[in-house]
Amino acid sequence: MSIERVTDEGMDTAEAIDDLTGDERQALEHRETVQEIAPATAAAVPLKRRRSRGGGIANWGPPIAVAILIVGLWYLVGLIDPSKSFLLPPPHEVFAVYLDPKIAPDIYEALWNTAVVALTGLAIAIVVGIVWAVAMNQAKWVERSLYPYAVILQTIPILALVPLIGFWFGFDFTARVIVAVLIGLFPMVSNTLFGLQSVDASQRELFKLQQASPWIMLKKLQFPAALPAIFAGMRISAGLALVGAIVGDFFFQRGTPGIGALISKYQSRLNAEPLFASIILASLFGVVVFWFFGWLGKRVVGKWYDFA
């Protein structure tokens, strides 16, 4: 491949350089040095996303195939003992619930209520988690003092604690949000801390040589460097906050009941179709939230970081 061809075709310089063999790259470097083509090249090639993102069938095909497989298995399992179909109703009966004007509105409203709790909890977990991690990042002794408690958040038998939260904070919205925060907080703390500490020693020294204050170092170096890890943390926390909100629903059913309350109602009445419909819908909502934070992460840091 000749250098001329690459640059003349207006390929992205970076991609062009990546594609070159060692010798060609050196030749290109030489030409920049000589300064004949550098300005022209730069003007000619547009800045472009590095990775081309495949859309269409390649992206959506495999998960849809798996979905079809699952539905197929679901039907098969149902055939084993048709007399027990009240325990595992066939998929079309479950999906019909979403259109049933007598049941569907309840499920949608309950999901909405749970979503509000989960997203409120998530927002609090994000803010508290980042502040917690930033505090720990300021000094080793703060990290030593506070990290064990972040771990405890993760290991605490949360189900044993939940009834107490009800006694302390009432059995409605506040208590449900607190459960969502407790369950969703740890990944924010650990991921943010990991991100803040991922900065190279030499990059820190670069700032130190200019007498940069800890605040400037945080703002211009550590926090931006931590963003990929923070977004990864948000994705995990979002799913957990939703689980927390549903757990809260199970225990605290005052105020505006969420989908967890509905699930426990259908469970006790052995209403299998709406039960499955609710569980599937709640999971799909979790997927949407997960996907949203992935998308947001890509938007914010995808330019310089390969956000998976």
Binding site: T33, A38, A42, L47, E205, L206, L209, L221, P224, Y305
Partner: protein
Amino acid sequence: MAMTDSAPATTSTLLDFQNVQLTYPNGTIALSGVDLTVRRGEFVTVVGPSGCGKSTLLRIASGLEVSSEGISTVNTKRVGYVFQDATLLPWRNVRANVELLAELQWDTQAVRREKAQKAIDLVGLTGFEKHLPRQLSGGMRMRTSLARSLTLDPELFLFDEPFGALDEITREYLNDELLKLFVEQQFAGLFITHSVSEAVYLSTKVMVMSGRPGRIVDTFDVPFPMPRDPDIRYTGEFAALVGEVSHALREGHGA
């Protein structure tokens, strides 16, 4: 911008080490009895095997580390430091990376922009201002790093094996560029490397270091005039000097 703060007008010594010693808390002696001066117009290179403590010299000169004995004096506030790797911030494009140091000095946007553009032009990256580091080759990243330090308009430039990770040909081009900058910008340089021919080609003085403990074992003046013709690398005198330095390096290492 402030000129030298403490130096009397008569002295041209920018960096002065007298009997500098560095002992780590665990008792390891990293540097022992190092005498070294860098004057205006000088480009001093310290060459030595890896792990001999040559980078530590720069860390003491820049204040990142403090010597345990001896006197180290730096007679200017305008000190540039180029790290082993480019240490660019991956989320900033070339221009924003080059502007960083001026930003940390609280220069205004207009001043920052001007300083950065000048430095970018000097290192030959004109037209690449909006590229992100990941879109650049290793050599171009190093140029960006060099441009970033140039915005400080340094009187003393410290280089910590900046081209060590580059291939031989890129390294030679960057050596030529660096010499051009040295002649044009008139900074004094202290350059660390493990390549003898790079050391001889770049410097007015080559100091040979040996490890455990790190100490200067020999000093060579390089007689070739500046600006240097890249082709002197292929002359007999150049080869002879490279041979002498290599010999000193081997003796120091074996001792």
